[in-house]
């Protein structure tokens, strides 16, 4: 399976969501699974949560993966309390993620 990663900046919200969404869709539209590198990200807004879930649903509709890597504890907590976490696979490192996808 072809996999490409996309690196998020410090925040994912209404100011940059279009750019991020386009970037992820560009990967998926090539037929590649996408890994979102969130190691630098310390805030995801309501808009951002929807970018993640939308990406996951588009990936699933294409038979592809969309995984989240390196999410910090506070962002993970936000996903947890709002229930968005239940839709995703989380990995601590890119290696872990790639190995899980390839297996």
């Amino acid at each position: 399976m072809n996999i490409e990663s996309y690196k998020l900046g410090e925040e994912l919200d209404s100011f940059n969501y279009e750019e991020v969404q386009d970037g992820i869709l560009a990967i998926l539209n090539k037929g590649c699974s996408a890994v979102l590198d969130m190691t630098s990200c310390n805030y995801v807004s309501s808009t951002g949560l929807r970018v993640l879930l939308y990406s996951k649903k588009i990936a699933a509709s294409k038979g592809l993966k969309f995984c989240l890597v390196g999410m910090n504890a506070e962002v993970k907590d936000i996903m947890n309390v709002t229930g968005f976490d239940s839709f995703f696979d989380f990995y601590n490192t890119m290696e872990e993620c790639l190995s899980a996808i390839n297996n």
Binding site: S46, L49, R50, N80, V81, G83
Partner: protein, 709 residues
């Protein structure tokens, strides 16, 4: 096909606009547009005020042009708004003539009555900027939560076991041991506990946005800050309380509450909201402008002929529930909570007010109540009335129901409490309560399902305090102990308040078990007050509406301290859920109409089949025949269940009715025994040696199960 009406027609200070759609009211996202719509019958002019999040000054104020008005509705569409980062309000112009009912003031920025997300009180107890021009700030909501296959559960109403709880009280206390105390997320962490207890419905005390700082002050006892903890004072009827969400500081309370409902549903637990449509947080003439007063005072409030506020709620004002437009707002609000939050039911605070006309007079067929009873979206939603108000209207048994409305049965509470304290004048009434209050609900054919039974609720003593205090102790509320109910029908078992007398404490535990037993073996929908299952105390405070501290918070250490009480609650709830014969929805016939040799229900006394045989009106017994639970289409016969109650202070023997051949009496519970002999595992009850008589100790209840040997 592309729509041709997606282009701006106006531009105002750089924002692109077009006339909006009057309906729905509020702010609605449509593609890259947001439609703002607000109704006011008497306003002459309206301006939309937009802020960037949390900023004091608006970045733009847009007048509703003439072409943006239709009838009495102002509406406009704004294109390409970054709506995650804006807050909006309205300025309304119109007459200020209080004697005519009008209080327009265009210097005020007003909250949208239909706001679905409200910022401004995002973190509980965080002092707001009181100088801010706009305190409770409407935001535009994301309404695309992914529910997957969730829907309201539609549990048959007679199968419900309701747990009345408060979001903060439930998990703020010591030893709650949750990551997010006092929040929706905190409740999610306690779902395994709720399942272990066995309840299948939580009734959340108000979760609509309110201001915990309303009427805040210091306790005269210890100087601690007192808050509006309970929240019976609405700021908005469409928005969840932000500070009840751990993510409220990020404006994510909508998703967090929806996640709670989804998770509870996944565990078979319904959600009922306690809704307060009788008044708002704006108070009387001296109160603040939040929304309704400035949007359309004469529409939203019941006013005296000279323009003052009627006060049937005891809270300063009364929502004008049977004004057609207010009625629509209430219906819209309830539909919204069912549609968007998958809420299973509502308990209406001081619901008698909903049946008063615009002059405050009770109506025989109140249009609002009729609308709700027949509403298509609310068609399977539980509707429960607190069938009285603060203006003296008491409608328990007579609340207009159209076969849809249930009621908090206040008479159940009063009778059972008196029986528990050995009042010799109440047995006849107790018997009515046990069989689902046919005296109240049979004549209108409302059935047993109209009766929500309870011994304790948020108003009044907790169950442990009911058996520990003769009088209320509300000094910490700062009202010289004047607030709260004076007639509690409580008995302290021999000492006022906490004590270390083993005999008194044993009796208190026994009385708690008696109370939950009466509740769980009575026909009707039982409601348990959160914390009673662990013997929670409020130190005698019977009106802890302002005690955001250990007085009102559940002390989870009690789970261990009162382990026998928790175990008893758990088992008796399980017993009720196992036995259909305890959960009829229609009233019983008291006759052998199937020719089975036994009636569906029979009263007994200390002698079998002789209900009149007893002591001082303090002993009684009854038997339910499980064979009657079989319907033509389904089911296997339930067991026989026999309950003997001795509220006398002496021991009495009860002669047992004889069972059909091959069956024997097994003992499920005896509140007079110490744990673990007080209650057994449902389905595994031991057979009793003497099949002809049982001995009941003073103030105890025995439950027997008759089934095959």
């Amino acid at each position: 096909m592309h729509r041709v009406d997606l282009f701006p027609t106006h531009e105002y200070q750089g924002l692109k606009l077009r006339p909006g759609r009057p309906y729905p009211f509020g702010a609605t996202v449509v593609g890259n547009m947001v439609n703002f719509s607000v109704y006011s019958r008497y306003a002459t002019d309206c301006t939309l005020v937009l802020f960037h999040n949390r900023e004091e000054k608006p970045f733009i104020e847009i007048p509703f042009f003439k072409e943006f008005r239709l009838g009495n509705v102002f509406s406009m569409i704004i294109f390409n708004l970054d709506y995650e980062n804006i807050e909006y309000g309205f300025r309304m112009d119109g007459p200020f003539q209080p004697e005519e009912g009008h209080r327009f003031d265009k210097s005020k920025i007003l909250l949208d009555p239909y706001a679905k997300l409200i910022a401004g009180r995002d973190v509980w107890g965080q002092e707001p900027n009181w100088d801010s021009l706009y305190q409770y700030r409407a935001r535009v909501v994301f309404d695309d939560f992914d529910w997957e296959d969730d829907l309201p559960l539609e549990t048959p109403v007679n199968d419900l076991i309701i747990y009345e709880m408060h979001v903060r009280n439930f998990t703020c206390g010591s030893a709650a041991n949750v990551k997010h105390p006092g929040t929706f997320a905190g409740i999610i962490e306690k779902i395994p506990y709720l399942k272990e207890l066995g309840v299948n419905c939580v009734e959340l005390m108000p979760i609509h946005e309110f201001d915990e700082f309303e009427n805040s002050r210091c306790s005269p006892i210890d100087g601690r800050q007192l808050y509006n903890l309970w929240g019976y004072s609405n700021v908005g009827f469409f928005a969840p309380k932000a500070a009840y969400a751990s993510s409220g500081r990020f404006g994510m309370q909508v998703d967090e509450l929806k996640n709670l409902v989804k998770k509870l549903h996944a565990n078979g637990i319904e959600v009922i909201l306690d809704v307060v449509f009788n008044h708002t947080a704006e108070g009387n003439e001296q109160g603040p402008y939040i929304s309704y007063r400035g949007i359309d005072n004469k529409t939203y409030y019941m006013l005296t002929p000279d323009g003052y506020y009627f006060n049937f709620s005891g809270c300063g004002n009364t929502l004008n529930c049977n004004n057609p437009n207010v009625r629509d707002m209430i219906v819209e609000s309830l539909r919204y909570w069912v549609t968007d939050y998958h809420i299973d039911g509502f308990r209406f605070d001081l619901a008698a007010i909903l049946g008063r006309d615009q002059n405050g007079n009770p109506m025989s067929n109140p249009p609002l109540l009729e609308s709700l009873a027949h509403d298509p979206i609310l068609g399977k939603t539980k509707l429960i009335a607190e069938a009285w108000d603060a203006g003296g209207l008491y409608q328990v048994g007579s609340f207009p129901s159209w076969g849809r409305w249930a009621e908090w049965n206040g008479k159940f509470r009063d009778s059972m409490r008196r029986f528990l304290k050995s009042d010799e004048q109440v047995l006849a009434d107790v018997k009515e309560r046990i069989i689902g209050s046919p005296d109240l609900y049979a004549s209108q054919k409302r059935g047993i399902k109209a009766s929500v039974n309870f011994v304790t609720a948020h108003d009044g003593f907790t169950l442990m305090d009911l058996v520990s205090y003769n009088s209320k102790h509300n000094e910490a509320n700062g009202e010289d102990n004047r607030d709260g109910e004076n007639h509690n029908n409580s008995w302290n078992c021999g000492w006022e308040g906490e004590c270390d007398d083993a005999g008194i404490n044993r009796l208190r535990h026994q009385q708690v078990k008696n109370a939950i037993t009466l509740l769980m073996v009575s026909q009707g929908i039982p409601m348990v007050l959160s914390g009673d299952e662990m013997g929670n105390s409020q130190q005698g405070n019977n009106n802890a509406y302002c005690q955001d501290n250990e007085i009102a918070w559940l002390d989870w250490n009690n789970l261990k301290k009162n382990a026998d009480i928790f175990r008893y609650f758990k088992q008796i709830i399980k017993f009720r859920r196992l036995h259909k014969v305890l959960r009829y929805d229609e009233h019983l016939s008291h006759s052998d109409y199937l020719g089975l040799g036994y009636p569906d229900f029979s009263w007994h006394g200390v002698k079998a089949w002789q209900p009149e045989s007893g002591y001082n009106n303090l002993t009684a017994a009854f038997m339910l025949n499980g064979q009657y639970t079989v319907t033509e289409s389904e089911g296997v016969p339930d067991d026989f269940i026999y309950v003997a109650m001795n509220m006398h202070w002496e021991m009495h023997g009860f002669e047992l009715p004889q069972l059909p051949q091959g069956m024997a009496w097994h003992i499920f519970a005896n509140t007079g025994m110490d744990a673990p002999e007080d209650i057994f595992e449902p389905g595994e009850e031991p057979i009793i040696d003497n099949q002809h008589e049982v001995l009941l100790g003073p103030r105890s209840i025995i439950i027997l199960v008759g089934r095959k040997k």
